[in-house]
């Protein structure tokens, strides 16, 4: 089992749609870099489809290979089953593409802070942001 703990960019690329889907078409992408979705590299976000992918988000973005998760050929689907019923939409099939990255969004943010004169290790910088009233919205 390959357990390289390397941060990864994870792209879900729509391979095909079986049935009617108002949202995705072949080639549509959803791109994840911890801790979120990179909108500049994302064509559409179907909330239920992304939620269905959620259990795999953490291991994949931290470098676990799809085949180690039982995703033998590196595909997942959305939540819609391929049933011929008026309640259901078409099923979107996504291919998982993993690319190791040097920096997460948080790393870039911390670098930006450093450029703005906020110095110190991650722990020290985070302390600068600790709230005085953490229970208030």
């Amino acid at each position: 089992m390959n357990r390289d703990m390397v941060n990864c960019k994870v792209v879900l690329e729509c391979e095909s749609i079986k049935g009617f889907c108002p949202f995705y078409k072949k080639g549509s992408r959803v791109t994840f870099v911890e801790p979120g979705i990179v909108m500049e590299e994302t064509d559409a976000v179907c909330f239920a489809a992304v939620l269905t992918f959620a259990p795999f988000y953490r291991p994949l973005i931290r470098g676990i290979k799809p085949e180690d998760l039982g995703l033998t050929e590196g595909y997942v689907t959305c939540h819609a089953p391929p049933l011929v019923r008026p309640e259901t939409h078409g099923t979107a099939f996504f291919r998982i593409r993993q690319t190791p990255i040097e920096e997460t969004i948080e790393d870039k943010w911390l670098k930006g802070l450093e450029a703005d004169g906020v110095r110190g290790d991650k722990e020290t910088i985070k302390r600068e942001y600790w709230p005085r009233d953490p229970d208030k919205p």
Binding site: L51, T52, F53, A54, L71, Y75, V76, H79, L83, E87
Partner: protein, 109 residues
């Protein structure tokens, strides 16, 4: 939520298995009924499937007929599948769930 179909091999569910969610009486909370639930696969937990439960819980009929259709729609059935593609593309097969709500006492139905 009841398992209506399995394509390929699923080591967790069989057709007819159920996940039952109950509202906590008098509270804004709901829980998985562990006595009536056959199994909870972590690859289903946290997906869009469970978001149906809050919809069922909070949808309610109004006095008039206007909300009748949304209310009936909230009760389902709605169909969802787990994220697995099925053989040969994934080790396990995929499971299709039918989600439906049962009006509880005091819901107005």
């Amino acid at each position: 939520m009841e398992v209506v179909e399995i394509k390929g091999r699923c080591p967790v569910y069989k057709v007819g298995d159920r996940i039952v969610v109950d509202p906590v009486p008098g509270e804004d909370a709901s829980v998985i009924n562990l006595k009536e639930t056959d199994n909870i696969c972590t690859r289903v937990l946290g997906t869009a499937l469970l978001s149906y439960t809050l919809w069922f819980e909070y949808a309610s009929p109004s006095k008039g007929d206007g909300d009748k259709v949304p209310w009936q729609r909230a009760l389902g059935p709605d169909y969802s599948k787990c994220p697995m593609v099925g053989p040969p593309y994934s080790k396990c097969g995929y499971v299709t769930f039918r989600a439906s709500g049962v009006p509880s006492e005091g819901s107005g139905e």
